[in-house]
C-alpha cells in the first residue's frame, strides 16, 4: 500500500504488510486478521488494526502503525521521563531530554520518539543535526499519544 510504504520510508525503513488483509474504507486503512476478513461486512466503522488516514495528499498514521514501525530498524530517539511528559503534552523535544539516538541524526529527517521502556510515544522532525547540537530544541513534535486526550475535547 503506497501511502503506508511511503510513510515508513520517512523513518529510513520499510514495512511489509499482507495487502490481502488491508482494507481501505473511504480514506482510512485497516489491517484485518483472518477471522475478521471472513466476517467483516463493507459498512463497518472500524475494524482490526487501524493503520491511518490518507487525506489531501498527506498520510496521517495511527499509533498502531507507529508502534509497528518502531519494532523495525528505523530512525528513533529515546527520551527521558520529564521530556516524555512534555512531549505527550504536545511540546517539542530539547536535546537535553534525548538519551539515545538510533539511525539518522540529520536535519529534516523524521524520527520516532520512544520512552525509556522502548514504547512509541509519537514522531517528530529533526530540527538540527543531532550530532552537533548540545542544547536547545532538537525535534519538532508532529504527533504524540496525548492526541487521545485532545480528541475527547
Amino acid at each position: 500500500m503506497e501511502p503506508i510504504d511511503d510513510f515508513a520510508r520517512r523513518f529510513g525503513t520499510s514495512i511489509s504488510l499482507d495487502e490481502t488483509f488491508i482494507v481501505k474504507k473511504q480514506d482510512r486503512y485497516f489491517l484485518l486478521n483472518r477471522d475478521l476478513k471472513q466476517i467483516a461486512a463493507n459498512d463497518f466503522l472500524y475494524a482490526g488494526t487501524y493503520l491511518g488516514k490518507a487525506k489531501g495528499g498527506k498520510f496521517f498514521p495511527s499509533f498502531n502503525l507507529l508502534s509497528m514501525i518502531a519494532q523495525k530498524r528505523a530512525n528513533k530517539i529515546t527520551i527521558a521521563r520529564k521530556a516524555e511528559w512534555l512531549f505527550i503534552c504536545g511540546r517539542d523535544v530539547f536535546k537535553q531530554g534525548i538519551t539515545k539516538v538510533t539511525g539518522s541524526t540529520k536535519k529534516d529527517d523524521h524520527v520516532l520518539v520512544l520512552n525509556s521502556y522502548g514504547e512509541c510515544l509519537g514522531f517528530g522532525k529533526i530540527l538540527c543535526n543531532l550530532d552537533k547540537k548540545r542544547r536547545g530544541l532538537a525535534v519538532e513534535n508532529i504527533m504524540d499519544i496525548g492526541d487521545f486526550l485532545r480528541r475527547e475535547k
Binding site: L31, D35, L36, A41, F44, Y46, F148, L149, E152
Partner: protein
C-alpha cells in the same frame, strides 16, 4: 410474547400508585427498602483494569505506576482490577494509560466479561458496545484472537469506542453503527454474547439521578432490554453463552426481565460465582422463577450498583 407490559402486574400498579405522591427520591428509596436494602449515599472508588495483552509483567507495571505516584490495591474479586488508592494526578493522563497498558473501568463493570468461559478464538457479539470499556476487556480476555462484533446506535460514543480500540491496540474487533434489535441482519452466529444493556443507571456517582429518573424511564428501558434480548437470542449458537448486565438497581430491568426471558425465550440461568448477592426471587409480591437467584445483584458501596447473570439455551429435558 408480551414485550411491553411484563412488569405491569396489578401489584406493580398498586405499589406505584401508593408511592406516586412521594418525591422521586423517596419513591425509589422506598422501593429499595422493600427489596431489602437500606439507602445510603455512596461514592464508588475509582478502579482500573490492567490490559494484560499489552503488559508483559503486571508486577513491573504496578511498580512503574508506583514510581510515578499512583498507589493501587488489588480488587479481591477481580483478576486484573485494582482500586486507585492514591494518585498525584489523573490516572487518565499518564503515558501508561495513553499507551493502553491499563483502562479506567469501574470495578463492578469489570465483572460481566469475567463470567464467560473460553473466550479465545470465539466469535463474540458486544451488542451495546460504546464507549467500549468492556469491548477492550473482551479483546484482552481473548488475547486479541477470534472476532468481536461491536454494535451501538450512539454515533458520538462510537467515536469514543474507536479511540479506545486504537489506544488499547485491540486487533480483533469490527464496529458497526447498528441497532442490536436488528442483529440478525448480520447473518452470523455467535459463541458468546455480551448484553451490557442501555439502562436507567443508578444514583451512585450521579448526584442528579433521582431528579432525572422516573418509573416511566425504568419501564421504557426494561421494554427496550427485552426487545434486545429477544433479538440477540436468535443469533446465539446452540452451545453459546449470554452475559446480561445493567447498572440499574430497578428489578424491572433486572430480575423481572430475566424471569421473562426464562419463561419466553427458552433460556436458562447459569450458576455463576462472582461478587454480589443472590438476586431477588420475590419482587414486590411477585414470585419469580427460582433460578433467578443465580443472578447477582450488587448494591452500591465501594462499587456502583450492578446486576449481572449468565444465560444459555435451555437443555432438552
Amino acid at each position: 410474547m408480551n414485550l411491553h407490559n411484563y412488569a405491569s402486574t396489578p401489584s406493580f400498579y398498586e405499589q406505584n400508585r401508593k408511592l406516586s405522591s412521594m418525591s422521586s427520591k423517596d419513591f425509589f428509596i422506598n422501593r429499595y427498602q422493600e427489596l431489602g436494602w437500606k439507602y445510603k449515599d455512596v461514592t464508588p472508588r475509582q478502579a482500573i483494569r490492567i490490559n494484560t495483552m499489552n503488559v508483559e509483567k503486571t508486577a513491573a507495571l504496578l511498580q512503574r505506576l508506583r514510581s510515578i505516584g499512583i498507589a493501587l490495591e488489588r480488587i479481591s474479586f477481580l483478576d486484573n482490577g485494582y482500586w486507585v488508592c492514591e494518585s498525584k494526578f489523573s490516572v487518565g493522563a499518564t503515558s501508561e494509560y495513553l499507551l493502553g497498558l491499563y483502562s479506567i473501568q469501574e470495578a463492578a463493570a469489570q465483572i460481566p466479561v469475567t463470567l464467560f468461559t473460553e473466550l479465545e478464538h470465539k466469535t463474540v457479539l458486544d451488542a451495546c458496545a460504546a464507549p467500549g470499556g468492556k469491548t477492550v476487556q473482551l479483546a484482552d480476555s481473548m488475547h486479541n484472537t477470534g472476532a468481536i462484533i461491536a454494535l451501538d446506535i450512539r454515533k458520538q460514543r462510537l467515536t469514543a469506542l474507536a479511540n479506545q480500540l486504537e489506544r488499547c491496540r485491540v486487533k480483533n474487533t469490527v464496529v458497526y453503527f447498528s441497532d442490536a434489535r436488528q442483529v440478525s441482519r448480520l447473518k452470523a452466529g455467535f459463541d458468546r454474547i455480551l448484553l451490557d444493556m442501555p439502562c436507567s443507571g443508578n444514583f451512585a456517582g450521579d448526584r442528579n439521578w433521582f431528579k432525572r429518573r422516573t418509573i416511566k424511564d425504568v419501564e421504557r428501558n426494561a421494554a427496550l432490554q427485552r426487545e434486545i434480548l429477544a433479538e440477540t437470542v436468535k443469533v446465539l449458537k446452540d452451545s453459546g453463552e449470554i452475559v446480561y448486565s445493567t447498572c440499574s438497581l430497578e428489578p424491572e430491568e433486572n430480575e423481572l426481565n430475566i424471569d421473562w426471558a426464562v419463561k419466553n425465550l427458552n433460556l436458562q440461568v447459569e450458576e455463576i460465582n462472582c461478587h454480589g448477592q443472590k438476586a431477588l426471587t420475590n419482587v414486590f409480591c411477585k414470585h419469580l422463577d427460582s433460578s433467578i437467584q443465580e443472578c447477582r445483584r450488587v448494591w452500591p458501596g465501594q462499587t456502583q450498583g450492578f446486576f449481572v447473570c449468565k444465560l444459555k439455551r435451555r437443555e432438552a429435558a
